[in-house]
């Protein structure tokens, strides 16, 4: 996530941290923990695993701070670390599949809230209010069914708001390939959402 003009850039904060300013690192954590956590959570579908990966990501950033080159972007570097950790976790889990964030959990009173809803802090966000619960569930289901390479590009673009160039650095693919994957992902979601009235309204 890029900083506003009034704020120091990520790279400037890293430079200050390399010079011994511990507070600069705290600022980096505050700035990136939320989008990073969302990206990892959608990737791993497990809040405890996501929390652990986010912690480990910042520890790796700290450990490799001396090797960070100012010429590269901090966000692409950090997300590459997080992505690799996610891949490691998924590999370790093997066949064990975490419950979907959007599957309602079974309670004594019947189907309850989804894991995604319980993970959220309950504050309503404007964008979520704009779409109905039904279309949101369909959207989440469609995102989960995306091929892995399209899903990670979609998450990095839509949740972490990384530009295509940085996504290409994170996933290690050419920028045009990343754009193609993003377009295929949007076309799949379009097919899944086309029957909903909200989608029709958005077309106008």
């Amino acid at each position: 996530m890029s900083a506003s003009r009034s704020e120091a850039t990520d790279e400037a904060l890293m430079s200050r941290f390399q010079g011994g300013d511990r507070h600069a690192f705290t600022l980096l954590v505050r700035r990136h923990q939320s989008p990073l956590y969302n990206f990892v959570l959608r990737h791993l579908r497990s809040p405890p695993a996501a929390e652990e990966v986010v912690q480990e990501t910042f520890v790796r950033v700290l450990q490799n701070a001396t090797g960070f080159m100012q010429a590269s972007r901090f966000t692409s570097w950090m997300y590459a670390i997080a992505r690799n950790l996610c891949i490691d976790v998924l590999r370790k889990q093997g066949q064990r599949r975490h419950p979907s964030l959007d599957e309602p959990t079974q309670t004594e009173d019947g189907p309850g809230t989804t894991l995604g809803e319980r993970s959220a802090d309950g504050r309503t966000n404007v964008e979520r209010a704009a779409v109905s619960t039904e279309i949101r569930e369909r959207l989440l289901s469609a995102v989960e069914q995306l091929p892995e390479e399209q899903r990670e590009v979609f998450l990095l673009r839509e949740m972490s708001n990384l530009p295509f160039k940085e996504i290409a650095e994170v996933v290690g693919a050419p920028e045009n390939t990343v754009k193609s994957r993003m377009r295929y992902a949007l076309e799949r979601l379009q097919a899944a959402l086309s029957e909903f009235e909200e989608y029709a309204r958005a077309l106008r």
């Binding site: 690192f25 001396t66 959220a120 989440l140 839509e158 949740m159 530009p163 958005a202 077309l203």
Partner: protein, 342 residues
């Protein structure tokens, strides 16, 4: 802009990553191309709707991250600390004072090593003499005085000389003080040099005189090879020195003897007698010396010099292992007329 170019720019336009000029061109194309406009409209509507709900991270995530980071900072900064240590050590190592101190220590250590090495070889109080060749040798015992009485030995007769040759000279005879052969027994090379070279003689005869061994058969077949001529008194002086020579190593003597025998085989006995006598003189008292003396006697008899042969064989009669052979050869010699080569 045509449809192909629009296709390549559609994602950038959708996410606002195009520059203004290209974005304006895309918009103009969309205004004129309904197919591309429908395509772009569908993707834009999907993007508006497909907004994933944001999940707020757990409240303690930041604190948890920072505590993990603190732990990592305490445990991990080894690399950074190591780099700082290397940097500090390098800055100290590059100072001139450090270099000078290192040189001083090297010099000090080398001095200590040299001093210890010398003291371990020989105690400082040990008495030591240095010979001409520079090899340290223990000092000669003061109880072995140099004899001045025996140095000028009277010229020996042929028999007496050969008898002296026949003796196994385990102990070197005393040498004359003031003579060139006055060197202590350890100075063998020097003594040998004097023995070989004709010493300067006060009389004019000295120029004609030569050392005893150079007077050998080659000059006068009738003369005994070892007997010095009366004018060779100076050579006689050198004889004890020559006899005082240490027997050479068996390898050298063996090689000389073989060379003499080879000379005898190729150039005849007349040429080889001198070589045999030389070997016999230099290795007197050794089996090789006796062999050389026997070969010399055989050669003398071969060329008809019965007197020379007799002299040499008589010398061998004193040697136990050669006595029988010498006696047989002397009997043969008696049956052979003088001057008649075999």
């Amino acid at each position: 802009m045509d449809c192909d170019k629009f296709e390549s720019a559609i994602m950038d336009e959708l996410y606002g990553e195009l520059d203004e000029v290209t974005s304006a061109a895309v918009k103009r194309h969309l205004a004129s191309c309904s197919r591309c406009a429908n395509l772009f409209g569908g993707l834009r509507a999907t993007r508006r709707v497909a907004v994933l709900p944001r999940v707020e991270p757990p409240p303690g995530l930041e604190r948890s991250i920072l505590s993990h980071v603190d732990i990592a900072l305490r445990v991990v900064p080894f690399r950074r600390r190591a780099a700082q240590a290397v940097s500090v050590a390098g800055s100290w190592a590059m100072r001139p004072q450090t270099a000078m101190a290192a040189v001083f220590l090297v010099m000090l250590g080398a001095s200590v090593l040299l001093l210890r090495g010398r003291s371990s070889r020989a105690p400082a109080s040990a008495e030591m003499t240095v010979t001409q060749e520079g090899t340290p040798a223990p000092a000669a015992p003061s109880t072995a005085p140099l004899s001045a009485a025996t140095d000028f030995a009277p010229p020996l007769g042929p028999l007496a000389q050969n008898e002296r040759l026949g003796e196994v000279k385990a102990a070197a005879p005393p040498v004359a003080a003031g003579s060139p052969a006055q060197e202590p027994p350890t100075a063998t090379p020097r003594a040998r040099t004097f023995a070989k070279a004709p010493p300067p003689s006060p009389g004019g005869e000295a120029t004609k005189a030569s050392p005893a061994r150079d007077l050998t058969v080659a000059a006068a077949p009738a003369a005994t090879p070892i007997a010095p001529s009366p004018g060779a008194a100076q050579g006689g002086r050198s004889m004890p020195v020559a006899q005082a020579e240490k027997p050479e190593s068996s390898d050298v003597v063996g090689a000389d003897l073989a060379a003499a025998r080879s000379l005898r085989d190729t150039r005849g006995c007349r040429a080889a007698i001198a070589r045999f006598d030389d070997v016999a003189r230099r290795s007197a008292g050794t089996p090789a010396g006796w062999d050389a003396l026997l070969d010399s006697a055989m050669c003398c008899r071969f060329i008809g010099d019965n007197a020379g042969a007799q002299t040499r064989l008589n010398a061998l009669l004193n040697v136990e292992s050669y006595k029988e052979r010498a006696r047989i050869e002397l009997e043969k010699l008696d049956r052979t007329p003088q001057g008649q080569p075999r």
